[in-house]
């Protein structure tokens, strides 16, 4: 079974490496895209010394975690965005006929190697932000620094998956899904207290995006939350990924079972 995925994956990679110049340019440009998030934060801090009490170095830890989390998730499962295309053209039927899981195939079939550049760039940004923040390192903080982007990536991956599962009902809803994926990325890149109570709670606590950048940053920097959440919660942030993965798995199964071909 695993071998079948490996072969599909290798074929994809070979195909994409055929056009070398185009691939190289893409890789570079994709890496540059990651810089946009960081440039934005730097530009905001050109006009203000702090955002709701967080200075540039604090904020960069939040942005760095959120960016790396998002890019890992985007490289891994960002392709699920294309599900409406598979639904419209009836290609999903072919996928479902094969004796492999639909989810696994969709992820592997359209794997975009050129996006991998974004992950490297994001790791560098994350590492630099941790280095500049003046964190007093303990074994616990090292563990958190490693697990936070993984937990965050699972959160974003689950949002991508749940959004894709919703496409089985909302054929034209890809833009609504963007609200939560790309919107979620931007949301988690800034300290939570800047948001209004309703908006902040909906994205931060209901969707759990506070656990992507904000909570781990508080624990790493040794700060208390101006919003009043308990300190132990900040250390448990990566666990939100586990919860999200469960929700996404249920949503995806439900969606695939609901699917009744396009008839084309």
């Amino acid at each position: 079974m695993a071998d079948a995925y490996r072969q599909l994956f290798a074929a994809q990679l070979r195909g994409q490496l055929q056009y070398r110049v185009s691939f190289g340019v893409d890789l570079l440009l994709n890496a540059a895209i990651t810089v946009i998030d960081v440039l934005m934060v730097l530009t905001v801090f050109r006009v203000t010394p702090s955002l709701a009490g967080f200075d540039l170095r604090d904020t960069l830890v939040i942005t760095g975690t959120a960016t790396l989390s998002f890019q890992i998730a985007d490289v891994a499962v960002g392709n699920l965005e294309k599900l409406p295309f598979y639904l419209r053209t009836g290609l999903l039927d072919a996928v479902l006929l094969r004796p492999l899981s639909a989810f696994g195939q969709l992820v592997v079939l359209d794997f975009q190697a050129r996006r991998a550049g974004r992950m490297v760039q994001a790791s560098v940004v994350y590492g630099l932000s941790l280095g500049l923040a003046g964190i007093s390192w303990t074994p616990g903080r090292v563990l958190l620094a490693v697990t936070a982007p993984i937990g965050g990536a699972i959160c974003y991956g689950a949002i991508f998956t749940t959004g894709a599962a919703a496409m089985f009902w909302l054929i034209d809803g890809s833009e609504v899904a963007n609200m939560f994926t790309y919107g979620g990325r931007d949301f988690a890149s800034y300290p939570m207290p800047i948001y209004g109570p309703l908006f902040g709670r909906a994205f931060g606590f209901v969707l759990g995006l506070a656990a992507v950048g904000y909570f781990p940053a508080l624990a790493l920097l040794g700060r208390t939350d101006p919003l009043g959440t308990p300190g132990w919660l900040h250390w448990c942030a990566p666990l939100v990924g586990v919860l999200w993965a469960g929700v996404a798995a249920v949503a995806w199964r439900f969606g695939v079972r609901h699917y009744q071909s396009t008839g084309s």
Binding site: T43, R46, V47, P49, L51, A52, D172, M179, G183, G196
Partner: protein
């Protein structure tokens, strides 16, 4: 002929009512996000940043979210796709120059976007935040001219990027460049005034700020509106002329692909 094409563009987009509403909803969500970030920056700076107070920065964010669907800052690969598949040949056989034909359809699209994609985000913004409205009645007609110029400048630039497919054959590279220009250099993510002075000067020499920052400046009554409109007209003329020249060169030099 031109008017008929404008009308066709309007009708074509008005059939996707649900999609337009979904876009307006998405833009509104990003409106909240940008408003909170920009408001936090203005508050952190002590009440004004780069000349924006809370009410004007909120209007900036919400009007920007509304306008981005009108001037169309999203990627547009219609012509690139037709070049790739060879279908561009049939555009060349029509009595209207493709540049003008696509411009007309795009203006029709923008007209429909004014109805849904501009109004919904501004209405939602006005419900939740104090916004700075224009103080002079003259601002509205000037704004209309400025938005028309911005849409045309955006179209011209998008068209140019699409024409690059004649050489590049793969629209992804130009598309990524557009992503940079559309979000970072147009003033969508942050006002151009937040950038360092040298970067501001450099950016105003590109077509990007003329697509969004200029009409927003007219709306917020920042700077001389006549100069903003004259600049917008110059930028629009320049990209359209360049688009026309590139189109001629491409057609003379290159063999159209496919069937």
């Amino acid at each position: 002929m031109f008017v008929a094409l404008v009308r066709a563009g309007f009708r074509r987009h008005s059939t996707y009512r649900r999609a337009a509403l979904a876009s307006a909803a998405t833009n509104s969500m990003f409106g909240f996000l940008r408003t909170y970030i920009l408001l936090a920056a203005v508050t952190g700076a002590g009440g004004t940043a780069a000349g924006y107070d809370p009410a004007s920065i909120a209007m900036y964010a919400w009007a920007g979210q509304g306008l981005l669907g009108v001037v169309e800052l999203f990627s547009w690969t219609e012509v690139a796709d037709r070049i790739r598949t060879g279908e561009i040949v049939s555009d060349l056989q029509r009595p209207v120059d493709p540049l003008l034909a696509y411009l007309a359809v795009d203006l029709g699209r923008a007209g429909y976007a004014l109805l849904v994609r501009l109004t919904v985000p501004i209405a939602i913004g006005a419900l939740f935040f104090p916004l700075r409205w224009p103080t002079s009645g003259w601002t509205f007609p000037l704004l209309a001219v400025s938005v028309l110029l911005a849409t045309t400048a955006s179209f011209g630039t998008r068209y140019l990027f699409n024409l690059l497919t004649f050489w590049w054959l793969d629209p992804r590279g130009p598309n990524t460049l557009w992503l940079f220009g559309g979000t970072l250099f147009s003033g969508l993510a942050l006002p151009i005034g937040f950038f360092p002075g040298w970067a501001q000067t450099a950016l105003w020499c590109t077509p990007f700020p003329w697509m969004l920052q200029a009409p927003l400046d007219v709306l917020l009554e920042r700077g001389d509106p006549l100069r903003l409109i004259a600049g917008g007209a110059a930028a629009t003329t320049a990209v359209l002329a360049l688009g026309y020249v590139v189109e001629r060169v491409a057609l003379r030099r290159l063999v159209v692909q496919g069937g």
